[in-house]
């Protein structure tokens, strides 16, 4: 079972996010970390490989500047290797441009299964994995809460607005994994030490046979007209509970004629 897991390296969430004043992209300076929402795909990939008894998890990531710091945590828990597409022309890529790049990578890797998070924490577009599936001509199951494989068929519990569906799907396929679907494991000391020597294959857009115009700003075909900071909602009254704060809540509900 060869599983490719799409991982996004994003700015540390501890830092307040900011937009570049020139091109309106998210500022990506400083240390990058693996998007927490991708840790569930990594864990699920590792479990499927373990259940199958063979194969590996290969990380696939894209970054304009060759950054690999965000891959280490996935290497430390057991991902075998990574393919990193790194090229200055990737700056400004939207979800479709990203999907085109990753589709070209999958064409080389020919995995049995591609896993990704349902959406990234920094951009939360939530369309890239299914765009990737369409470009590959593969089926996809989004919002997977539980995944297992039996008789070569994926069996997925897919979250819906009303509850959940049980879905089967042939391989190869793309599956997006909800946050919390599995409990990501902690790295061992041995794993952390081994992470440094895991192979990272670096590719450029030209290596993948893609044209520069399909990716980056030119591929995204959109222009930011304006950026405005909204007036913050005025903070209200704060009361420290000393056994009677519920009376204030009752009074407010009364004023609003809800009691």
């Amino acid at each position: 079972m060869r599983v490719a897991v799409c991982v996004k390296q994003i700015p540390d969430e501890e830092e307040p996010p900011a937009l570049d004043t020139q091109d309106h992209t998210l500022v990506r300076e400083g240390r990058l970390v693996m998007d927490e929402s991708d840790s569930y795909g990594v864990e699920m990939g590792l479990r499927l490989v373990e259940a199958d008894g063979g194969g590996e998890v290969c990380l696939v990531s894209m970054a304009p500047n060759g950054e690999t710091s965000g891959l280490r945590s996935a290497f430390a828990v057991g991902a075998a290797r990574a393919v990193l597409v790194s090229d200055p022309v990737l700056a400004g890529s939207d979800a479709l441009g990203t999907a085109k790049v990753l589709a070209a990578v999958m064409g080389r890797l020919t995995p049995d299964l591609v896993l990704a998070g349902t959406e990234s924490t920094d951009g939360y577009t939530g369309t890239m994995p299914v765009q990737l599936a369409e470009l590959l001509g593969w089926p996809s199951v989004s919002f997977a809460e539980h995944v297992e494989i039996s008789d070569g068929l994926l069996r997925v519990r897919r979250q819906t607005e009303a509850g959940y569906d049980e879905v089967t799907c042939p391989l190869p396929a793309v599956v997006t994994v909800t946050s919390g679907a599995v409990e990501p494991r902690y790295p061992s000391f041995k794993g952390i030490a081994a992470a440094k020597s895991k192979p990272v294959e670096q590719l450029t857009v030209a290596d993948l046979g893609l044209d520069d115009s399909q990716v980056g700003f030119s591929g995204a075909r959109q222009r930011v007209v304006s950026v405005a900071v909204l007036a913050a909602r005025a903070a209200g009254e704060i009361v420290v509970d000393q056994g009677d704060a519920h009376e204030r809540v009752v009074a407010l509900l009364e004023t609003l004629k809800l009691l």
Partner: protein, 324 residues
């Protein structure tokens, strides 16, 4: 004035709230609004969509056990390739809506403008509004390529309203069979489960009581449910306790869950992560109960109670009961 397409999800003849919001928004963009729908009861749904302004409804038919994404996107792409292309395509950011948008985007080679919360149709090209950083910053953007703009719209971004003067009571219904897409349409739904809720719907209730990690344990979520029932409201949850398996996803409020705009929102033990604030910050009144004085939820609360929610809620419930 051009044509807008709307992906209109429906359930047994009843259009989803977001479908009516999108048809309403499309009226403001184009002289001609056409909707795509599928499943059982499309004729009844088409009647409602007509009242809100859809002049034509494409019926993609009963999809059987297929997931909607590949089939609906394929039917739309097929029409577009025959030269029936619209100027704008509006799709709701639901689970199935995102699948349709993603597959259509790849098929037509059109970027998706995602997280849309408003569309300004007054200029030569539609300008979409997107909120980022938890709703604190609004970016206005324009699609610059050729072909229609593809907009993935957040729920409750528009207020649905019937067309004035009265829209078509019976729009033209066009059966549109989705061409076979054997490889991409391989997934099969083998069973559907609904996790039923009693009382008003979460995204329509006037009062929403939501619980978070500060409740301490799954058992304490009963306090949230009880308060919601007493106020004839709906109970919701933060992503943290959905991810931890305390309550089903159907209750989740926030970026990946439901967007709510009730008269009163009562946040119980919720810190207020940006992805949560996005889903509830437009409530008319916000009451927050949290132990941590520094919790971001207090920055948006009209009334903030700094205290242990497991102490405050039982007293609040008792006080409201005493009045009944």
């Amino acid at each position: 004035m051009g044509t807008s397409w709307v992906v209109a999800e429906q359930d047994d003849g009843v259009p989803a709230a977001i479908a009516l919001e999108l048809v309403t928004a499309a009226r403001g963009l184009s002289g001609m609004v056409e909707a795509f729908t599928w499943g059982a009861g499309t004729a009844a749904a088409a009647g409602v969509l007509g009242r809100y302004g859809a002049a034509k409804v494409y019926d993609v038919g009963d999809l059987g056990d297929s997931l909607p994404g590949p089939k609906v996107a394929c039917a739309m792409a097929e029409l577009a390739s025959r030269g029936v292309s619209p100027d704008a395509i509006l799709i709701g950011a639901t689970h199935d809506g995102r699948d349709v948008a993603a597959r259509l985007s790849a098929r037509l080679d059109l970027p998706v403008l995602a997280n849309v919360v408003g569309i300004d149709g007054s200029g030569p090209r539609p300008v979409s509004e997107h909120t980022i950083f938890g709703g604190s910053v609004v970016v206005r953007a324009e699609f610059t390529g050729s072909g229609p703009g593809l907009f993935l719209v957040q729920a409750r971004s528009f207020v649905a309203g019937p067309a004035e003067p009265a829209g078509q009571l019976s729009p033209e219904i066009v059966a549109t069979n989705a061409p076979e897409t054997p490889t991409s349409d391989g997934a099969r739904i083998v069973a559907r489960h609904r996790e039923g809720q009693t009382g008003p719907r979460l995204d329509e209730a006037a009062v929403v009581v939501a619980g978070g990690r500060g409740l301490g344990s799954p058992a304490n979520y009963a306090l949230v449910t009880e308060l919601a029932q007493l106020l004839n409201g709906a109970a919701g949850a933060s992503r943290a306790i959905v991810d931890s398996g305390w309550v089903p996803y159907a209750l989740q409020i926030g970026q990946t869950g439901k967007t709510v705009k009730p008269t009163v929102y009562i946040a119980c033990g919720i810190s207020g992560a940006t992805q949560h604030l996005v889903g509830m910050k437009d409530a008319e009144h916000i009451i927050a109960i949290n132990k941590d004085r520094q919790a971001p939820i207090f920055a948006v609360a009209d009334l903030g109670v700094v205290g242990d929610v497991t102490n405050v809620l039982p007293r609040l419930i008792e006080a409201i009961r005493a009045r009944h």
